[in-house]
Assembly symmetry: C2
Homo-oligomer: 268 residues x 2
C-alpha cells in the first residue's frame, strides 16, 4: 500500500516539524516578552511624564488639544510625511528614494518607512512585486549557483595533488573571508559611523536587512537632521544587492568548504 | 577550453539578467515617483496647515515648543510606544503580541510596528532569526512538496482513462479554487470589515503580508481605538502561516495543472 505509506510517512515528518515550529514560536514569544516588556513600560512612563510636563508648561493647552495634535502628527507620519523639521526636507519620493523603495519591494525587505499611500500606488506595487520578486530570486540564484558551479566543477579538486588541494582550500577560505569582510563587516561599520549608531546597532541593521526581515526601525539615509552626500542612498541600495548576492553565493559554498576541510583533516 | 566556455556562458546569462534587473528597478522608481510624489506634497501641505492652525489656536505655544513636542512624540513612537490615547492601552509586548512578533521574524515579514528596542532584545532577535528562518523554510517547503508529491505521483495520472483524468483535473482545480477562496479571498474581506479598511486595502495588506514584504503600513490588530476579541491577533498569525503554507503548496501545483489542462486540450 504505497499510498498509505507515503501518507503516514509525510504525516510522520510534518507533525514533529509542526510541533518544533510552534514550540519555537512560543519560546520566542516568551523571551521577547521578558526582554522588551520592562523597557516598553519605562518608555511609556517617560512619554506620559513628558506629555504632562508639556501640559504644565503651556497652560493654554488642555488634554484634548494635545491628543488632537498627537492625532495630526500620527496621521502625517502614516502618510509618509516626516513631522520633524520644516517643509524644506527633501521629498521621500525623489528619484533616489523611489529607486531605494523599488529595491526594498523586489527583495521583499520592505522597510515600510516608505510605502505607497495612494490607491494607484498600492495597486501598482502589487503588480510590480508580482514580476519583481521572481526576477530578483532568479537573478540572485543565478549569480550564486553560476559562481558555485564555476568554483566546484572546473577545478577537478579530487584528482589534484594534496599540496594543490590545500592551497585551493586555503584560497577559497581566504576569498570567502575577504568577501565577507568587504560586504558584511566593513559597510555596517561605515553606516554606524555615518548614522551615529553603535556598532551593535549597525550590525543589527545589516542583519535585519540582509535576512530580508526589514523592520524599518533602522534605515540608512532617513535621518532628516543629517546631510547625506547625494549618492548615499544609491550606495546603500547597491550594498544591499551586493550583500544579498554575496549571501546567495556564500550560503551554498559553506557545506562545500566544510566537506573539503573534513577531507583534508581525515587524509592528514 | 571548458573553463572559458562556462565563464563566458555564465557571464552571457548573468549580464542580460543584471541589465533587466536594473532596468526594472529604474522603471519602478520612475512610476512610484509619478504616483506618490503629488500625494506626498499634498499630505505635507496639509500637515503644515494643521500645525499652523494649532499654533494660532493656542497662542501660548511657539514654533520651538511645537517642534519639541513633535520630537517627544516621534521618540516615543520609535521606541514602540503608541502616543495616541492613554497609558491603559494594552502592552505591545503581551504574550499574544510577542507570539505575533516571533511569527513576523521567522517568516521574514518583519512589519516593524513592533521591533526590539533593547540591545539584549536585538541580539536575541538576530540569533532567533538565524535558527527560525531556516526552520520556517524547511517547514513550508516540506508541507508544499509533500502534498505535491502525494497529489502527483500516487494518482498515476497518465495511465488512467480519459474520463477519470478529466474528473481528477476538475477535482484538483476545484480544490485549488476552494482553498484559495478560503485562505486568500475570505480572510482579507474579514480583516477589511474588522479594521474598517476598503476591500482593496484589505487585499493590499494580504498581498504585502504573504509576499513577506511586510511594510507595516497596514497591520491587523494594531488600532488602539478598536476593541478586538482576545484571540484576534493569534487568529491573524494562524492565517499568515496557513496562507504561506497554502502558497508553498499551490505555487508548485500551478505548472502541473497547466500541463494537464494543455494535455486534455490537445487530446480532445
Ligand atoms: K520583509
Ligand atoms: K518588512
Amino acid at each position: 500500500m504505497p499510498r498509505t505509506r507515503l501518507c503516514s510517512c509525510w504525516g510522520g515528518q510534518v507533525l514533529p516539524l509542526l510541533l518544533a515550529y510552534v514550540c519555537y514560536l512560543l519560546l520566542g514569544a516568551t523571551i521577547f516578552q521578558l526582554l522588551e516588556k520592562q523597557a516598553e513600560a519605562q518608555s511609556r512612563d517617560q512619554f506620559q511624564f513628558e506629555k504632562l510636563r508639556f501640559l504644565e508648561n503651556y497652560t493654554c493647552l488642555d488634554q484634548q488639544a494635545v491628543e488632537q495634535f498627537v492625532q495630526v502628527i500620527m496621521e502625517a507620519w502614516v502618510k509618509g510625511v516626516n513631522p520633524k523639521g520644516n517643509s524644506t526636507n527633501p521629498s521621500n519620493w525623489d528619484f533616489g528614494s523611489s529607486f531605494f523603495f523599488a529595491g526594498t519591494v523586489v527583495t521583499t525587505i520592505g522597510y515600510g518607512n516608505l510605502a505607497p499611500s495612494t490607491e494607484a500606488g498600492q495597486v501598482f506595487c502589487v503588480f510590480y512585486a508580482l514580476v519583481g520578486i521572481p526576477l530578483n530570486v532568479l537573478f540572485l540564484n543565478h549569480l550564486g549557483t553560476g559562481l558555485h558551479a564555476h568554483l566546484t566543477t572546473l577545478e577537478r579538486w579530487e584528482d589534484q595533488p594534496r599540496r594543490s588541494q590545500l592551497l585551493q582550500t586555503l584560497g577559497l577560505a581566504l576569498f570567502l573571508a575577504l568577501g565577507t569582510l568587504l560586504v558584511l563587516i566593513f559597510p555596517p561599520m561605515v553606516f554606524s559611523h555615518v548614522e551615529g549608531w553603535s556598532f551593535s546597532e549597525g550590525f543589527y541593521f545589516a542583519f535585519i536587512t540582509l535576512s530580508t526581515i526589514g523592520f524599518g526601525d533602522y534605515v540608512v539615509g532617513t535621518d532628516p537632521s543629517k546631510h547625506y552626500i547625494s549618492v548615499y542612498r544609491s550606495l546603500a541600495a547597491i550594498w544591499i544587492l551586493l550583500g544579498l548576492a554575496w549571501l546567495a553565493l556564500v550560503l551554498p559554498l559553506g557545506p562545500l568548504l566544510l566537506h573539503r576541510c573534513s577531507q583534508l583533516w581525515l587524509l592528514s
